[in-house]
């Protein structure tokens, strides 16, 4: 499968998808660690994540898919939300929690 198709399937097949360096348990970059912490603070513990450090095609692919040159990248219901800065801003303003609550049914 083409890398863009693979990414499309991943982001549309999961309510919340995070492309990161490392894993949620063992992030390998401060920005990716922050992204995971923000999701946890928003009550999201179960989300799709992919480690771009283990897959060079994916690492390049997600940058082109979102026209976004950095990792992490957060998607909600297939829509690119942003990287670490935007996640932080939207977390502090409360927007991210609202967006996640609307996307992920409680319980």
């Amino acid at each position: 499968m083409d890398i863009k198709d693979r990414i499309h399937q991943q982001v549309t097949g999961h309510r919340v998808a995070l492309y990161m360096k490392g894993t949620p348990r063992f992030p390998q970059c401060g920005f990716s660690a922050t992204a995971v912490q923000i999701l946890k603070h928003c009550g999201v513990t179960d989300f799709f994540s992919a480690n771009v450090l283990e897959d060079a095609d994916l690492r390049q692919g997600v940058k082109e898919y979102a026209n976004w040159p950095t990792i992490p990248q957060l998607y909600i219901n297939g829509e690119f939300v942003g990287g670490c800065d935007i996640m932080k801003e939207m977390y502090h303003s409360g927007e991210l929690k609202k967006l996640l609550e609307a996307a992920v049914p409680a319980g």
Partner: protein
């Protein structure tokens, strides 16, 4: 090594800005960018405009990490109180 003033100059040359402040240590940088061009744009679109102004330097890894705040002049005024 990339200096904060380099990043500031690159952003200013690619994007009309009211204000650009960049701080950093050569690997990690933080920028405040105030531009009327951000008016009506989403956060994602604003950062994409800055990345574009940087002309592929993020993509090529010349700039390792750049955190940014992107504000319109009105938002900047409001934040300063």
């Amino acid at each position: 090594m990339v200096r904060p003033e380099d990043i500031q100059a690159w952003i200013e040359s690619g994007l009309p800005c009211e204000r650009v402040e960049v701080a950093g240590d050569g690997a990690h940088f933080e920028a405040l960018i105030v531009s009327a061009g951000f008016d009506g744009k989403s956060r994602v679109q604003r950062q994409q405009m800055v990345y574009k102004a940087l002309g592929g330097r993020m993509e090529r890894g010349e700039i390792h990490a750049l955190s940014m705040r992107t504000l319109t002049p009105q938002e900047w005024q409001a934040q300063r109180g």
